[in-house]
Symmetry: D4
Subunit: 169 residues, 8 copies
Amino acid sequence: MTVAVCMGSDSDYPTMGAAVEILREFDIPHDVRVLSAHRMPHEMIAFGTEAAASGYKVIIAGAGGAAHLPGMLASVTTLPVIGVPVDITALDGMDSLLSIVQMPRGIPVATVAIGGAANAGLLAARILATGDDALAGRLRDYAEELKAEARAKNDRLPRDQQPFGFKNG
Amino acid sequence: MTVAVCMGSDSDYPTMGAAVEILREFDIPHDVRVLSAHRMPHEMIAFGTEAAASGYKVIIAGAGGAAHLPGMLASVTTLPVIGVPVDITALDGMDSLLSIVQMPRGIPVATVAIGGAANAGLLAARILATGDDALAGRLRDYAEELKAEARAKNDRLPRDQQPFGFKNG
Amino acid sequence: MTVAVCMGSDSDYPTMGAAVEILREFDIPHDVRVLSAHRMPHEMIAFGTEAAASGYKVIIAGAGGAAHLPGMLASVTTLPVIGVPVDITALDGMDSLLSIVQMPRGIPVATVAIGGAANAGLLAARILATGDDALAGRLRDYAEELKAEARAKNDRLPRDQQPFGFKNG
Amino acid sequence: MTVAVCMGSDSDYPTMGAAVEILREFDIPHDVRVLSAHRMPHEMIAFGTEAAASGYKVIIAGAGGAAHLPGMLASVTTLPVIGVPVDITALDGMDSLLSIVQMPRGIPVATVAIGGAANAGLLAARILATGDDALAGRLRDYAEELKAEARAKNDRLPRDQQPFGFKNG
Amino acid sequence: MTVAVCMGSDSDYPTMGAAVEILREFDIPHDVRVLSAHRMPHEMIAFGTEAAASGYKVIIAGAGGAAHLPGMLASVTTLPVIGVPVDITALDGMDSLLSIVQMPRGIPVATVAIGGAANAGLLAARILATGDDALAGRLRDYAEELKAEARAKNDRLPRDQQPFGFKNG
Amino acid sequence: MTVAVCMGSDSDYPTMGAAVEILREFDIPHDVRVLSAHRMPHEMIAFGTEAAASGYKVIIAGAGGAAHLPGMLASVTTLPVIGVPVDITALDGMDSLLSIVQMPRGIPVATVAIGGAANAGLLAARILATGDDALAGRLRDYAEELKAEARAKNDRLPRDQQPFGFKNG
Amino acid sequence: MTVAVCMGSDSDYPTMGAAVEILREFDIPHDVRVLSAHRMPHEMIAFGTEAAASGYKVIIAGAGGAAHLPGMLASVTTLPVIGVPVDITALDGMDSLLSIVQMPRGIPVATVAIGGAANAGLLAARILATGDDALAGRLRDYAEELKAEARAKNDRLPRDQQPFGFKNG
Amino acid sequence: MTVAVCMGSDSDYPTMGAAVEILREFDIPHDVRVLSAHRMPHEMIAFGTEAAASGYKVIIAGAGGAAHLPGMLASVTTLPVIGVPVDITALDGMDSLLSIVQMPRGIPVATVAIGGAANAGLLAARILATGDDALAGRLRDYAEELKAEARAKNDRLPRDQQPFGFKNG
């Protein structure tokens, strides 16, 4: 497996599943697991410590509230760890964002947007593509698809009730 | 030792020293250590896992930024863990407060105010006093001293330039 | 009774009931009451002042908005007081969290997460377990159950539509 | 005495003194005291409970952090209570503002700006002026002075280095 | 009329109606109007300027978003103005609270909680009661009712499924 | 076309459509397009660079989250650019507001309220009216209509159940 | 005069002076005045009401705290009003930003960054340039100067102690 | 060059220099440039578009306020882009953090802490180490050094004035 997708609880799956979809779309070998920093601390530490030796190249970790999973995994591995703040408390994910992104000097976590699991998958792909030209090519294709989608959205904007000619962008 | 005072870095000492002073004032056996969740994760986990067996009754843990130390210690022990948010980043300690207090169901951290290390020491004393009547007595004395200090502050308020009689509260 | 569970209004019960459930699960004698800092101030002060003499060991207090109950109880007792911010206003519980946690030097409140009443119950159990080995044992069992639940959640993650082998964590 | 100016600690005086100055300027009889909700809870409750019978008409109360003094006084009196958030913690007074203003239905606190003690004095004057025409007249004079000051500030704006004619507002 | 209840738009009425109910409950003569600082600025200024001469004693003003109504009225009258932040934007009423409470030195607005219109009514009553002993008596009765209600809520707490005896507070 | 209405995605249309309605109401020639700073960066840059030469006078740009569209357009044109923060993430539009308004010295964006697309249309009209007296006249008419609407809202306030005479404002 | 620069107090001048400098640099006729929404409300309303007839084309208004000046001016004129949040309270200008930007539907204020007075001047220039080709040309020159400055900053970056060849961007 | 370190202005260098130091310490070829999204938009787009073809593997981009540089670079390249929020405005870097991290689906930016440039350098190293075993080894050495430093800090904690034996952690 190349990418490990970890989450603090299965209640994070509705958010984190988007990372899995992206990895599948890019044919990047991956597995997915519940790995709670707080409920399974010893397994979490053991998993992170051995992740590089197990063959993983990138770890994606999502958690909500006082979100310690991404930072603790980053503390026991030298692999790049991507953190996904999950919005599960009353504070709209701000607690999770700050718990993940504000890491001290020495231990980086590559943080994406609150709920931004799809971007976590894409960031993993960008990282792996630094050593994989074919994957880099697929990322360029993906960017073209995003552009085409945005253009198609432009064509579908409501315009017919409008009194003057509208041109597309 | 009864209370372990832990902090993520020696740069937390100017804040955390107030907890040590309180413990000393109440004659509560304690030790103090730098125990970084991120730079010494395995030692941190080991310390927390063995803390109860080592004879500790309460753990006080302070950290700033993405502050994972209190929550991770609470995850590997069943001792009460008191968390002290330390204000060391641009965000005025709010990142640290949320990283410590917003723990998920199952793993409590007893959080005090940002920079509230003295209160962490007092909370440890209140916890220990649930089984120690002498300590409970000293806490009652301490409350009396606080009251006397507040009254003394009242007496020292600037009043002399004022045109009408002022009475003390 | 060992633990007093207090709340500012019965509208806090949907949140605070989780503390009661935990205390019941751990067989910790407790009672529960509406005790409003603002609507019953004299009774509130009287209750807190006499709580230790009445035999309580720990007080759990929940309130929302400008939440003064936990801090005022902590001001008239030397028992450990656990504060639960309740999310009842437009501000997502942030007003309640800050009203509870930002106590001045001298009067600690052991604050848990917004809505974290279950953790308030568990923190009470941890505090009482400092003098009760059997309870400490039950807390260790509880931690094992949390771990087993987390593992079971891992086993139930959706994996079948995925193109490569997934291994469990 | 007509107005009681209360503060949680003498460290609030540099802020709260501005209320005293305004009251003196308007010749409103007042006294000033340290009255800590947390360190002198019983005296605080007693003071508030008897304030109306003692002849006070308005209470001004300032406090910082988890600021409970204004709300608790409002809970034991039916006099109007004016709350002044004081900026003494890392959170820029936001904790104090929310602790004072977000009072539950039934117990109002008339909250002014963070550090707005002068306005607390003026609000007390406006309240007392509802039954005192001479005081109302002085408040109208005061408004005229504010206007004159603002005009004078306009006249002092730096304009001389400017290439075109400037007219005053 | 003694109290003017003003609001920026009729969409504020679901919030502001609670002030009207309180005033009616206390038999305080009042009227209610839409008075938009932004859509009727000249009428708003005229109303405020003449409010005292028209016989009003207190103004209650509610508005949402960039809420200028309370502060502008306070600028053209010396009557006490009570501001009610109304939660009508994406920002949970925080924009409205800060627009109302953070008034500059010289022009106080007595601010209540976000959505706290009932308390605005009660604060008006407390202000008027400084010169009206009968009203002060009704406010004391009201406080007794609040206390009785809180006690009744205590009696209705769910307790029957609980394994140990519960006593009421 | 005089005004270009741009948005980062068609999911912004429910918000941004209000700008289109205002422009139509004021007979201001305009077109509307999806123009994503992130998915169509080169087209976005090209559009902005040529906007003035294409005859546009004002650009309205709306985007959510890390909203870069208004600021990037402002960077490649000297036309006035009006930015509309759109509330599409967990953070209530605060991320979008700050991403749009906090532009560095040299590159202004005229920012309106979160979701304030109607005001963006009106601001475009005010800008164009600096050189178009007829449009200025229509804006004055619009202000009169707003005033009339506010008065009509006043007339429709619920008043009939009230015990004393109410007069309209 | 073409542009009116208004500010709530002379204490805003250290911030607002940057708008004046920009207007002078672009040779845009302007004047500057203290115009307090709260201390000179009637003059403020009168000034705004007559601003268009007086020949102004754009108004720049800065204020701090509960900043009502920009919105109130926008309410009595149909000229474009540019609002500058000024950071003068404990809340880092956030109170001022929200008081200015969150205007209700119907009354736009073109808000710039906290302290962004230079950008207010530039936005005024962009607005005026919609009908003034020479000014538009000067704005294009200004953009070139910004670019040149940024390139010069690049050339001055510290690079000499570095072990590998650095190329300029 | 392997890593491009970009910043919006030379005023970001005091922050961003820490990334350069780390890259130098790990012997990672890099260059550094001022590349302003807002003042040099066309060069910025051109640089990002060609970065991969120019041989770069990772881009580090820092900016403050409405920080668009990291996200815009990520929009025109498929290289991993690391964003560093820089604290240069009144809002403590929160504006910059949200402008960088809250990117829409499709365009990830790997965000580090406010001011966390050293961690940006380390994250670049972790990314490059996914294809470079020697670099991975140096990262493991670096982690050991961090641990050793933390232990040394522990040894230097002030302990001598304390009444009981302290043991090191």
